[in-house]
Symmetry: C2
Subunit: 337 residues, 2 copies
DNA sequence: CTGTTAGCGCGTTCAC
DNA sequence: GTGAACGCGCTAACAG
């Protein structure tokens, strides 16, 4: 039962190993008759080529690495699903590097390229430093970024500036003027998540375009949890002049806002409009108005791009920008008159 | 910059490749002085051994396969996180096989072992058939099951009988005698999910131990959706003598029950107690009393067990049973007096 | 078209 | 202790 090799097949079919290899890879022309013989031998022996030997010989690992922070979060799961779907159709395996600490982030971004364990790298959200990019370039390792960017690396981005703008604009369109924003920590994000700055920028821009001055007391920052968002929203709603609408950086935080409103007997959407961001699964269930990102697609497109760049390294970094979509549900309405 | 090999290191250190290999694997005794030299050369050349060549030479793939259905579901994500955490510390990679159809299930369970692409297999929820287990044994492939079981294979199970018992007992302790159960379809689900039968058994056992006769009309079965659960709960609550408490097979279904109560203006927990199962993320938000499974741990323990069995195949299949935890929130209380 | 041979990079016997 | 040779299973380049 122990591994039957290409040599066994060759012997069985009465041909050379080269020929077997050829029919396996469908490469050069092989006469139909000998091809049949080989195929029969393969079938009879239940032969299955060793991917490892193949990789060594090819000098390629036939696997791509995916580095993602907190891959448990719904948004990453959804992206990874997109990656899995496109990679499953290819002959590439993929291995996930889950990052939950800064040390691990650095270890992944620095060790993985040098260890030559992967033919390509997909990095989610964790913007590489210039030095790290230089390292990628030195080792000629194809890299594609998803949900973050770097001028010298191909990337798939969701347009978070536009998304933040879109969310705010929706509130503006409904007639709101006092619009609060409960966001992730703008400064202290250990990984330097870029969407945080972008959505904030979109929010500011929409306000500015509408001629509404930004009020610092309407902008609250806290860690990405429901509890913290609830606390921040509580502060907002007990302001002397509370906002009539709140934009939350994520759906998770929007639920915290909703909870705060409930605590204070503030009716949604009659007295308060709430809009989230992400459109995670629960959001539909709870009828949350939100901004949908095409997460699955961002993973799938990223994987496609990577596969393509492994075969044919581009001279210029590619950029794919995915739009966001407003999903109107039941938590937004015109302000009380 | 192109791959520096063990030969380069040997040359640089003025030793043979064998010696380099020895210090790399810390195996046989190497004189301290030459070891230093080798280490220095490795450092200077930034050498990192090729895992692929190592695998070929070793005859082991150094990767484990993880087969999981619907890996997007929260419960699998959580389990996979446990797997990832323990495998990240080992020298094993892992590759995920996501199963969403019966065809794919069969392909994975049958092809993966024969292709010798993995040194071990972790299978979640998808009970293997006897024939498949025989195949594992023939190829000497270590396999560990998580969330399912087979008499000849090591497995990590969550004690769903105890969980069902615990949920029911909690209701009993509060003083309830009329306890309904909204469950998943007991008859064969396509993949043969075992927890369905187990939780039901726990429910029956707790009732029996409390000396309360089982009332068939209190047990409703339907597909695993909120809508269906709502319908079933509606039936229960409009019975001539309705239950004062309902145990739902899953949190999702518990929300359907909650909704039915709301429809009928039945107050929870004053007039009706509701307990779910799973403790999914949204449950905390909605204050649902539920049974928490140690999902992360089940993945971690499964991976540990597999690693161990790869090194040292056990004569007897091991069994690890994880307990469940009651999470008391606001949907259960004593029955109306 | 097809058989033969030389590596791919590493672990592992062997002699020294 | 340590160096040299062989083999893991496969691909690719070279003859024929």
């Amino acid at each position: 039962m122990a591994s039957v090799t290409i040599r066994d097949v060759a012997k069985r079919a009465g041909v050379g190993v080269g020929t077997v290899s050829r029919v396996l890879n469908g490469s050069t022309a092989v006469s139909d008759s000998t091809r049949k013989k080989v195929l029969v031998a393969i079938e009879e022996l239940e032969y299955s080529p060793s991917p490892i030997a193949r990789r060594l010989s090819l000098g390629r690992t036939m696997t791509v690495g995916v580095i993602a922070p907190f891959f448990i979060r719904p948004s990453y799961v959804e992206r990874l699903r997109g990656v899995e779907a496109t990679l499953a159709d290819s002959e590439y395996d993929f291995i996930i590097y889950n990052v939950e600490t800064l040390a691990r982030r650095n270890a992944c971004l620095q060790d993985v390229p040098r260890q030559e364990r992967v033919d390509g790298l997909l990095i989610m959200t964790l913007s590489p430093t210039d030095a790290e990019v230089t390292q990628f370039e030195r080792t000629h390792l194809p890299v594609v970024l998803v949900d973050c960017a770097h001028p010298r690396v191909s990337h798939v981005m969701i347009d978070d500036v536009a998304g933040g703008y879109q969310a705010t604009q929706h509130l503006l369109d409904l007639g709101h003027c006092r619009i609060g924003y409960v966001s992730d920590l703008l400064q202290e994000s250990p990984f330097g998540f870029r969407p945080v700055a972008d959505r904030y920028q979109g929010y500011r821009q929409a306000l500015a375009d509408a001629g509404i001055p930004f009020r610092p007391e309407y902008h609250r920052q806290g860690e990405l949890s429901r509890r913290e968002a609830r606390r921040l929203a509580h502060e907002l709603l007990t302001l002397p002049e509370p906002p009539t609408a709140i934009f939350a950086y994520s759906d998770t935080q929007a639920f915290g806002v909703l909870r705060a409103a409930q605590d204070l007997a503030v009716k949604v959407p009659e007295q308060l409009s709430v809009i989230g961001y992400d459109d995670i699964e629960i959001s539909e269930f709870l009828h949350l108005t939100t901004i949908r990102q095409h997460l699955y697609e961002s993973g799938a497109r990223g994987a496609e791009l990577l596969l393509q760049e492994i075969v044919d390294p581009p001279s210029m970094p590619q950029e794919i920008v995915l739009p966001t979509t407003l999903v109107e549900r039941d938590t937004t309405a015109p302000p009380p008159s």
